[in-house]
C-alpha cells in the first residue's frame, strides 16, 4: 500500500525536506480526452510507478469516505502491482483511463505552467479559449 501523501510534494515545507533528503521529483499531467484533469508533483519513484502501470482499477479495499481516503490498484501484466491511497479526484482521474504526460519534458512548451482545466491539443498544453 502506498499513501500518496507520503510522496506528494504539494504540501508546505515538504519540498525543502525532500530536496534535503536528495529525493527527486516529477510533475505529471493526467489528460482525459483533451482535458488536463489533474496535475501532481511527487517523488520520482512514485511517478515512475504510475507511468509503468498498464492500467488502474478499483481496489477491493473500500474507500474511507469519512477520512476522504480513496484506493486505486495499479495493474501491470494483469496483476496488481500495488495499491495507492489518495484523494477522491485523483482516484476518479486514474480510473478514467488517463494519458499521463511528464510536465517537465522540454518538448512541452508550457508544461511547467499547465494545470487542471488546461487543454492538451496537438501534443501541447494550452489554456483553453483564445489560445487554441
Amino acid at each position: 500500500m502506498i499513501n500518496f501523501n507520503d510522496y506528494n510534494w504539494a504540501f508546505p515545507g515538504v519540498k525543502k525536506q525532500k530536496i534535503n533528503a536528495k529525493i527527486n521529483a516529477k510533475a505529471l499531467a493526467f489528460v482525459i480526452g483533451t482535458e488536463v484533469a489533474e496535475t501532481i508533483a511527487a517523488d520520482e519513484d512514485f511517478c515512475n510507478l504510475l507511468i509503468k502501470s498498464d492500467s488502474f482499477a478499483e481496489s477491493s479495499i473500500k474507500d474511507d469516505l469519512v477520512n476522504q481516503i480513496y484506493y486505486v490498484d495499479l495493474i501491470k501484466d494483469s496483476s496488481v502491482l500495488n495499491t495507492i491511497a489518495c484523494y477522491e479526484k485523483l482516484q476518479a482521474v486514474l480510473l478514467s483511463e488517463p494519458k499521463i504526460y511528464d510536465l517537465l519534458d522540454p518538448k512541452y512548451k508550457y508544461g511547467k505552467m499547465a494545470g487542471p482545466q488546461w487543454s492538451f491539443i496537438n501534443d501541447q498544453f494550452i489554456i483553453p479559449g483564445e489560445y487554441e
Binding site: I32, V66, E88, A92, V93, L95, S96, E97, P98
Partner: protein, 74 residues
C-alpha cells in the same frame, strides 16, 4: 459515464470563490430549506458539516443559487 465524468457531475459547476460575489447567492428561504435537508441527510459529516459526496461545507454551499446537491435532494 467514466469516474471522471461522475466526479465532475458530483462537484457541480459552483466553486468556493463564487461565495465572494453576493450576486451568486440564493435567498435566505431557499438556503435554509436546502441546509435543513442536508442536516437530516446521512451523507453529512456532523462534526464539520461537510458532505461526504462532494466534500463541500454545506452551510456555505447551500447559499449559492446555482449549487446543487450531489444526490439531487435539492
Amino acid at each position: 459515464m467514466s469516474k471522471w465524468e461522475e466526479y465532475k457531475k458530483k462537484i457541480g459547476d459552483t466553486r468556493p470563490w463564487d461565495l465572494l460575489d453576493s450576486k451568486n447567492y440564493a435567498n435566505e428561504e431557499i438556503a435554509n430549506s436546502r441546509y435543513n435537508i442536508c442536516l437530516s441527510c446521512p451523507e453529512l459529516i456532523n462534526l464539520t458539516k461537510q458532505c461526504k459526496q462532494c466534500g463541500c461545507f454545506m452551510a456555505a454551499k447551500t447559499k449559492l443559487l446555482e449549487a446543487s446537491c450531489p444526490l439531487g435532494k435539492w
